[in-house]
């Protein structure tokens, strides 16, 4: 099928199958799973994934065509995003055949929901300093015993499986003593506690592990080679974040130029100039993202340059919410005002998926090739390393 036909078919399928908002009677998770199954059965889930593991084996061109057609719909795929964007690709890249066989197809079909368990309270930007322990216990069959705490875990309360990074050796430097696992989120030792963000919504969770067992066949990659697996996952994360940034994607945001021109007095030349500034920044980033996308289509992989786009998006998100509240004035401080939500959520873009400082390091080190910061933490055995919060 040529691309135009593909796009045409996708458009038709979406028109007929995208859920409308009036089916509120069913539980949203059930609805999302039902939709995902139909999406999969129609061949639109895992478009670029290998056919052998349940994907369609097509190219980024088809994936992009479908994404463009889907842009107008609010598809209920949010709870599958971690699986589709991060843990699934990691299993395809680094899992055993048995793991791919067991996990990939149910993931693509929405039968099982995934979360990702890397960050900890003491290990944010510096994920590799995490302290959750996994200890091998061959006495009780070949399995691992996990104890510790994770944080910032999206959809953990719905998840069936989690991709867990844990420390398996404290006598080697921090990157060298980690191992990756698939953990059963229904295990009785797993406790999920919602974590409210500063806007008051519980978009994240804390996850506690207390004597949780994992069979060794659910280990992903070699023992103590978990960091290289995590890098694969984080690479996919960064790609899926930057893919979400498109031209016009901010149009219905309450702090967009389009929304603000309705809300403020554009008769004031200063207000007008502020909206011009917002337009300039919005367009500059949108065009950069489009250029990255065109380069990707032409086979030039953006790599670490995507971190510049993420940095700019975080700054723009903060800038526009800040600007909009200033323009609107006291009303914007009422909790019900969309801009009060916007300013409450604006820091999230800078804090999820790597802080602005981390993004600048990545751009400096990997795009510009600048010399690295001297690192003490790469050679010291983990047990002797300062981590987390210490005086």
């Amino acid at each position: 099928m040529n691309l135009a036909d593909y796009r045409h078919a996708a458009r038709a399928w979406l028109r007929d199958n995208a859920p409308s908002d009036d089916s509120q009677e069913t539980d949203p998770i059930t609805r999302a799973k039902d939709f995902m199954a139909r999406l999969y059965d129609a061949g639109y889930s895992g478009i670029t994934w290998p056919e052998r593991w349940g994907g369609q084996g097509l190219t980024q061109a088809e994936e992009r065509a479908f994404a463009e057609e889907a842009r107008g719909y609010a598809l209920p795929t949010y709870i599958f995003a971690i699986g589709l964007g991060m843990t699934g690709p990691t299993l395809v890249d680094r899992g055993t055949d048995a793991q791919r066989e067991r996990f990939v197809r149910p993931l693509l079909r929405g039968e099982e929901i995934w979360c990702q368990l890397f960050s900890e309270p003491g290990a944010g930007s510096d994920v590799a300093s995490l302290q959750t322990r996994a200890v091998r216990d061959e006495a009780r069959g070949d399995q691992w015993i996990v104890d510790g705490q994770k944080v910032w875990t999206s959809v953990a309360h719905h998840a069936d499986w989690g991709l867990l990074l844990a420390r398996t050796d404290v006598d080697v430097p921090k990157h060298k003593g980690l191992t990756m696992f698939v953990v059963d989120m229904h295990h009785p030792g797993v406790t999920v506690r919602p974590l409210k963000d500063m806007s008051g919504r519980a978009n994240f969770n804390e996850v506690f592990f207390d004597d949780v067992t994992i069979p060794d066949e659910h280990r992903v990659g070699e023992v103590n080679d978990g960091w290289s697996v995590a890098v694969t996952t984080l690479l996919h994360e960064r790609l899926s974040i930057s893919a979400g940034v498109g031209m016009g994607g901010q149009r219905d945001h309450p702090a967009s130029v389009e929304a603000l021109r309705q809300a403020v007095d554009t008769g004031d030349p200063l207000v007008r100039d502020q909206l011009v500034e917002l337009h300039i920044r919005t367009r500059a980033l949108a065009l950069f993202n489009q250029r990255l996308a065109q380069e990707t289509r032409a086979g030039i992989f953006p790599g670490a340059r995507g971190s510049a786009a993420k940095l700019l998006l975080a700054e723009l998100t903060m800038f526009q919410a800040d600007l909009a509240t200033q323009l609107v004035g006291p009303e914007a401080a009422l909790a019900g005002h969309p801009l009060a939500q916007a300013i409450s959520m604006a820091p999230g873009m800078a804090l999820g998926g790597g802080t602005n400082e981390i993004m600048r390091n990545i751009v400096g080190d990997r795009v510009l090739g600048l010399p690295p910061e001297p690192r003490v933490d790469k050679t010291v055995p983990f047990k002797d390393l300062k981590v987390g919060t210490q005086a």
Binding site: S119, P121, G124, S125, D126, S129, V151, W152, L195, K196, D197, M198, G200, D268, L270, V271, M318, D322, T325, Q326, L327, V328, G329, P330, E331, A332, A333, L334, A335, G336, H337, A340, I343, S344, P347, G348, A350, L351, G352, T355, N356, E357, R360, N361, E373, R375, V376, D377, V380, L385, K386, V387, G388, T389, Q390, A391
Partner: protein
């Protein structure tokens, strides 16, 4: 010009700071307005009567003393109507009928200063008329105030109203007849607002409307100075204990240089607040420029510092449990309290005859 605090002023600051640290730490701030803390603020420190003239049972202090106190209540994110009562007190000291001041000084009366917060409060007090204004027939008031700061906690409303004698300041018992109040949830969880509808509520006419917009700007800037100082202190402390990649995050120039810039803003903000307070007390000719400067600079600097302090905390700063968002939201709510911030810049342009 006097830009440094006297020893007495420093003592006042120390006393308020110590009291608030003990009586209203941040976990308590999250519980909201506590009348008992207010009773002690007045009983032990006499703060509600600070700028009330001595003949009305107050301490008769100057605006400089008030700014010293507001800086501390700001730093503590003190919940409740302290700021708006200070606003109202400023207004009441400048009208004919000062009776209410005694109740304020004695801590019996919590007054809120009304006037649509969206109006040009920075100029003369909000003029009568307009969609949200009040009218007064001499003994009763009608009209709606869309956003009254701490309007649910206060017992008395002080607000400008249009009357047969021109623009007057009136006082209304918020617990009396003809008053309908609706709590408004706000961005800032530590301090709410209320919508107040007056349908012939009994009112006392206090005198012609006083021109206190500049003084309010100075008072608010003092609170903002406190908010930014406390936010900077919090992130500096965190940068000294939080480790990433084997080093304290404060040792990274990416963090350190930003904190240095924030400190530089704080130094400038404090200098401006001192100057504005001095102008209010000693040099009324300088006050309009100083007040507009205070809001134009300090309001922005406060939000920028609160924003960066939150961001530099990393993910923990984005959680509800952490206090960073309380400073961030207070800073934003304060920035727009007097109207869109550009009004202060516009006023500066006028004052500079640009």
């Amino acid at each position: 010009m006097k830009l440094v605090l006297s020893e007495e002023q420093q003592e006042l600051r120390g006393a308020v700071r110590a009291f608030l640290r003990a009586a209203s730490p941040l976990p308590k701030v999250r519980e909201g307005f506590d009348p008992q803390v207010y009773a002690r603020l007045n009983g032990e420190l006499g703060l509600s009567g600070l700028i009330v003239p001595e003949e009305y049972a107050g301490a008769g202090a100057d605006m400089t003393e008030l700014t010293v106190v507001l800086e501390e209540t700001g730093a503590a994110l003190l919940p409740g109507p302290f700021l708006t009562t200070a606003f109202a007190t400023v207004a009441l000291t400048r009208v004919r009928d000062k009776e209410l001041l005694t109740g304020i000084a004695e801590g019996r009366v919590l007054a809120a200063l009304g006037g649509p917060l969206t109006g040009p409060l920075t100029g003369p007090l909000t003029g009568p008329g307009g969609a949200a204004g009040l009218t007064c027939d001499g003994s009763a008031v009608r009209g709606t105030l869309a956003q009254v700061l701490s309007g649910m906690e206060a017992g008395v409303l002080v607000a400008p109203a249009r009357s047969g004698d021109g623009a007057v300041l009136v006082a209304v018992d918020l617990t009396g007849p003809g008053v309908s109040r609706t709590a408004l949830e706000t961005l800032d969880p530590t301090r709410g607002q209320a919508r107040v509808e007056l349908n012939g509520a009994p009112a006392r006419v206090l005198g012609p409307r006083p021109d206190i917009g500049d003084l309010l700007c100075v008072a608010l800037a003092a609170e903002q100075l406190g908010v930014m100082r406390a936010a900077l202190d919090a992130i500096v402390a965190y940068a000294k204990v939080r480790v990433a990649f084997g080093r304290y995050i404060g040792s990274y120039q990416g963090v350190k240089h930003k904190l240095a810039d924030m400190h530089a803003k704080l130094e400038q903000a404090e200098s401006i607040v001192r100057y504005a307070a001095w102008s209010a007390d000693e040099s009324p000719d300088d006050l309009p420029e100083a007040a507009a400067l205070a809001q134009a600079y300090v309001g922005r600097a406060c939000f920028e510092v609160a924003r960066d302090h939150l961001l530099l905390h990393g993910g923990i700063g984005y959680t509800w449990e952490h206090d960073a968002h309380l400073f961030y939201k207070r800073a934003k709510a304060d920035e727009v309290l007097m109207g869109p911030p550009r009004v202060h810049r516009a006023r500066l342009a006028t004052l500079l005859e640009l």
